[in-house]
Amino acid sequence: MVAEIGQFVLILALITAIFQGVFPLIGAARNSQPMMRFANNAAFVQFAAITAAFICLTVGYITSDFSILNVANNSHSLKPMLYKISGVWGNHEGSLLLWSWILALFGLAVAVFGRNLPDSLKARVLSVQGLVGVGFLMFILFTSNPFERIDPAPLDGSGLNPLLQDPGLAFHPPFLYLGYVGLSITFSFAIAALIEGKVDPAWARWVRPWTLAAWGFLTIGIALGSWWAYYELGWGGWWFWDPVENASFMPWLAATALLHSAIVVEKRDALKNWTILLAIVAFSLSLLGTFLVRSGVLNSVHAFATDPARGVFILMFLIVVIGGSLLLYGIRAPMMKGGGLFAPISREGALVLNNLLLSTATATILLGTLYPIFLDAITGAKVSVGPPYFEATFIPLAIPLIIAMAFGPFLAWKRGDLAGVVSRLKFALLLSLLLVGVIWWQQTDTPIMALVGLGLFGWLVIGSLLEWTERIKLFRGPLSASWRRMTQLPRSAHGMTVAHIGVALVILGITASETWQTEHLGVMRPGEIVSVGGYDFRFDGAETVAGPNYDAVRGTFLASTGIEKGVYLYPEQRRYSDPPMETTEAAIRPMLSADLYAVIGEEDGKGGYAVRIYHKPFISWIWIGAFVMFLGGALSLSDRRLRLGAARRARQQEAATESLSGAKG
């Protein structure tokens, strides 16, 4: 019964989405209030319908209703409850349903919180949102129906891929989708602006919080995904430049660029066309990311089952949405009027540089991801573009970006004073050079890239802190005055400092763990001791243990420095029964200074086990840094100016900020 209800409400949602896509658009063109208002009601009904469908599928999973094909294919009665629920979106059909649900949720958010938006803009935004929903719901209903029945029903399900039975991965897709779909709102705003033919600072004030939120969710989603790869795949790697990873990284880079260019639109009324293009591109990359892996065009370890009918639909959908919106851009964008002028050396100039570097990075990753298809199509050769390409192209773009990150915030709007900024940053330059010097003195054979990475870390942290202390005039007067300034500074300014420091921490984690990692790969017998990274690892043997739906060989290691008591590590090699598959559960002891990482493998038949032990200095800082970036975004988002519905008050606040930054420049 639940499947039929789910099917019915999904069809209802599709019909509603079609109405939501068509009527408000007509209403906005004819200036008909009732037709524009209809968008709000439609957004509500669509949300309610998809929520109901999602609940139906979840009930199917919780009750292990194997007469539903999707449940039979992806669940199993023995599976723990958490993974029964995460199984709802751990497959192709269910993940699309989650996507549509978030899309409807965000549409509803615009309908509810957008009271102070101009009627026509709001109607057009919701209408574009509805049209995107039509595409997704049609895709679900015609090619990927989660409610399809199977007769006769199997006695038990075939299980969820054991690699995906993991708390990190259970929450990775929802965050990623919140990010992807959040960009749909900025996309809808961009299309609405193109139709209206105008972009003003109020528009940017609406786009920026959505971009920030989407960016924050994407940051968390990507971090969770790489964390999962780190502890689940058992090789200690955390980023593989796999097409699926790139698919989430490209929208993130584009969103980062959009985040910064929207500031220029808001503050200076410039870069409007560029910002609109970025909003379209960011969402297009999200769509590409969602679909590329499902279309059968690219093959990847993460790929969902592929089906040619889906591929055709996906491509048609991408052509209509991306091609259509870029065509609209090509026709309407030249009519937009540009805003304020600025000198190359200025805050705007720095943000343009940021945008150029970020979009070039996005383009090179897109090229690397699609290149195998192009080459195969033209010459028939099969290649895989691996980490060497991405590292060789991405890092040279990232270095100037990070150097500029410390500079930019010091520059004044319109026209900056480069010499003045250099003199203010000389302290950061000196300290980071000192840091590099000390490391080189300690270890003269340190790879050059490690010195560069740590130098950039020092430069960015100290540069960001200098800018922050300068803003609050720390040590330039009484502390109480600085405190007052700090509390009066807009939260988005604090957010920027925090997010930039987060980036620096990620650089620290990457550089240190890549440079100073030590490892031991080989066979160990019980009682044997190896020394890795200053720790003695004693192997205490392995035993077989039974889990809820798997058997595992669990090894015991004692890691100690000789000073402390030591810690036990219990890596496992699991063999799942449904579906039959082996997974590696690495045992990780995360610490601020380093991670201890142990993996147990096959028995060699003579009582020894193949083991891998790693000592990875500072690697936790990659994820700590990502979380700090997210916090910075959240702090910015809580800024009064960006709070939904605070447009009028924001203008007064902005005047206050302007005088503050004016005093500095």
Binding site: N273, L277, I280, V281, S284, S295, G296, V297, L298, N299, P308, G311, V312, L315, L318, I319, I322, G323, L326, L327, Y329, G330, I331, A333, P334, L370, I373, F374, D376, A377, A381, K382, S384, R575, P579, P580, E602, D604, G605, A610
Partner: protein, 177 residues
Amino acid sequence: MRIRFLIPVVTFVGIAAMMWYALFNLNPTEIPTEFVSKPAPEFSLEPVPGYGPGLAQEDLATGKVILLNVFASWCVACMAEHPFFMELKAQDTVDIFGLNYKDTPDGAAKWLARHGNPYKRTGMDLKGRVGIDFGVYGVPETFVISPDGKILDKIIGPVSPDMFESRIRPLLNEAGS
């Protein structure tokens, strides 16, 4: 209308055209070219106890096209192709060698005893080392080996009669004529 504003849409049209072509004309699961026409990697393995002579690199050059099937007793999908392999053996269509992958000698022997042995030779790759050299992604996989011991093609997943006719039969005929 200024032309530069059309650059994004033109770029996208190019990408879309390429993806369209790729969708209908390319198969991402095909074997990477670096393996095709290369000699099989060097290896030498003990047989599954009681199931024919062992398996080594030089045994693959038999003067005719043969199949090298990667199987395991724990592999459920192997059960799907097993009856078809028994049929191929009964009709003497092609010789099949079995590469037993990450299994136990006992488990493999029991599995062959229970379901029947379609293989002329078997080799036990207990730790999966040989599998790595062959580029095995998962079980089952089937390699088509040329008369002089080179890899002609690889099929990922169970071999179905349809797949045999479309991908293996032409290679057999080519070598026979």
